[in-house]
Amino acid sequence: MSSRKQPKGKIRPPKKPNSADAQFNDNWDRLAQAIREIHKKNASILSFEELYRNAYNMVLHKNGDKLYNGVREVITQHLEEVAVSQVVPAFPLSGASSSQTNPNGAGGANFLKVLKTVWEDHTTCMLMIRDILMYMDRVYAKTANVPLVYDLGLDLFRDTIVRSQNYPIQNHLLEVLLQQIKLERENEIIDRTNVKASIDMLLELTDASTKDTVYATDFENKFLETSSEYYRVEGQMLVGEYDAPEYMKKVDKRLNEEEQRVRHYLSQTTEPKIRNIVEEELISKHLKTVIEMENSGLIPMLRNEKMDDLGRMYKLFGRVVKGHDEMKSAISDYIRELGKAINETVTSNTTAEGGNAASGDKQTGATVAVRWVQEVLDLKDKFDKVQNLALSNDKAFQTSFNEAFEYFINKNSKSPEFISLFIDDNLKKGLKGKTEEEVDSVLDKTITLFRFIGEKDVFERYYKQHLAKRLLLGRSVSDDAERGMIGKLKVECGYQFTTKLEGMFNDMRISSDTMTDFKEYLDKSVLEKPKLDLSVTVLTSTFWPMNLSASPRCNLPPELTKACGTFQNFYLGRHSGRRLTWQSNMGTADIRGSFKARKHELNVSTYQMVILLMFNDKQDGESLSYEQIKGESDIPEADLKRNLQSLACAKYKILVKEPKGKEINPGDQFNFNNDFTAPLQRIKIQTVASKVESEGERKETREKVEEARKHQTEAAIVRIMKDRKTMEHNLLIAEVVKQLQSRFMPNPALIKKRIEALIEREYLERATGDRRVYNYLA
């Protein structure tokens, strides 16, 4: 204030600067002394107001720079003293060169403690200095563009203590910090507060050139380097000493520890970096080794259903780039391997008895199929469980598992037939011992296998055959279950896939109505009633699996022929223009047989009935030869053999064959078995049950499928060309594949052949300019 009151003359007396200097020196001496007192923690004797006013006056009189530099000097001087008197004496005894010789880290911990005190003292003093120099900060520092005094203090601390040019404080500090962390990694208890104090200090200091924290420039890289090295060594050690589950637990623990460490006393910015290092050194580098560990790796875990370990592996390996890929491919390979084993047991079974369908246990064929499907389903269940319990239902894993299943299921060329047989088996005896829900869930699972089949059209063909038998022989347990299954197939493949199957059901329903009408018709008419109850099922030939051109021959007994005639008249009278062909190979009959012991009702196939009726005219003990039966009945040879087998070689021996044996051969003699006994009154003679096809039948089915594919391919080509009119070859092939692949995978050669056939039949033509382009001919 006083200076303002003194008016200044224009001419400056030479004494003036001297007196101003003297004034400044006087003020400055007092202020410097005060700062020293602050450093000595003697601030209570000082007056804030005076010191502030002092500094204020200096700045007011344009001595801001002198003040600022003076303060810098005093603080620097003080910090130099602190370095010598406090920090250097606290250096760990063993020196910076080797922290190893100081195993318990006590010296290091003490050093950190001293540094903590020094740092706290410094910041406390700087806050007070900042208070009294507030005016300098606000007025001088701003215009002179220099750091505020507190920040100046931080820079001085950085350069005088932390990065001292005179003493190796930095080396000691870094070594001690790294050593403390190492000790903690080795399960020693360290004083985290001291470490945290030093880390916080480094975080508060700024590196002048990078503008980053001193923590980042001086400490972090070193920390990461040593951590890399530490975990590189540890990874090699662990992988050699522990099995896979233990290894993973150790890694989990390490990851957790490092995360905790960062949270407790390092910077959050270090977290991803140290995590990467642990993941790289302990996971990425040992992925395959751990997966392939003998007796404890991924496959043993799967084999023993170690869901916890699998889950741990999934979570752990998911942290690194290749982790899940390696797991996925290992599991998929394992599935393929197991699938291959399942396929092999089946093929070895079928070939052992194959080629001769008529021989041995008739059930075996179907049993093989059921067992194959059941094993595949069990495998599916197993991996669904893994997926569910250990893999968090990861879609990528699911896809890869599905591919593996698809691969081995389609490796078994019989899979469409097997799956259909499995469904057949369940629908025939499903309810026995199983609730409706259980059957439903089995069928649902079967659908998942169906999805994997590439040749869905082949499946359809078998399904139709099996369904036809179930319907006609009344073997289905439940209509609801049948319809449920068709519903499921419809959902999978669309209505086109199931129209014929539904048509079969329709025929059954209409036939039942027709029979009611037929009975009424007979009651009202004056015609002679047939001597037997006739039940006719009228089948639409295109829906059912039958071969009209090769309609099976069979000489029916006269009563039956007559009854058939009556029905034919009735039916054709109502539906003119239709043609009825009798499929005697598909029928059944209930007949009564008188044996020595008692009478039995026999439920037999139409063929069996024809055979048995021949014995009506024969005396006791009079036999018929195979050739006689064949000639008289005109039943096709394969069917005849099969039916004779059922009558003479199976559980109920209505006929006695000479010579004995399970095979039917030309020259065999057959007798009515008058001594036949059975506990039940009503007996069902098992017709040869649905079974795996013989090689011959398979070839036939295959040919039919190929034939059907030709038609479907042509139909698809025509449909597409009708729509597009003109199309390039490759595009057409692609479009055809797209349309057909839900049923089967057409190969381009097949499509090409069909295109050529259509050109020949003038549905298409090659474009004149470009031979690769086709035109549709309306």
């Binding site: 601030a43 107001e49 502030y52 006013r53 806050l127 208070d131 507030m134």
Partner: protein, 122 residues
């Protein structure tokens, strides 16, 4: 928005003898006066007082904070107190010399709002 009520109530504190905990000796020699005030108000309104009354610097006498400000005239300090408590400043009828002194004082106490206002005023 209840600002006006708030300002009114706070400004009434200036003449309220309750809760007073600061004695400020202002001026020198014959031109000296003693002001009583509330540290919490002064600290809230001024960084200068916040430092002056902080644990590191404060001096207590009979449970009262005592503070000397010899280089500001009582009449000037009274205006500052009025500004601090009530946000009011009446410059009418003030001689230019007083206004200049007030400018200098507000600069020293780094009451920037007041300082800038006075600069504009002059």
């Amino acid at each position: 928005n209840f600002h006006s009520g708030l300002v009114k109530d706070i400004s009434l504190l200036l003449n309220d003898s309750n809760y007073l905990n600061v004695t400020i000796h202002v001026g020198e020699n014959e031109n000296a006066e003693e002001f009583k005030a509330h540290s919490i108000i002064l600290c809230a309104r001024s960084d200068y007082f916040k430092c002056a009354f902080s644990n590191e610097w404060v001096t207590m006498n009979n449970n009262m904070i005592t503070f000397n400000k010899p280089n500001i005239a009582p009449k000037i300090f009274e205006m500052i107190l009025k500004y601090i408590y009530a946000g009011e400043l009446d410059l009418t009828n003030q001689p230019g010399e007083n206004i200049l002194e007030l400018l200098v004082a507000s600069d020293e106490l780094v009451i920037e709002e007041l300082f800038e206002h006075l600069q504009d005023y002059l």
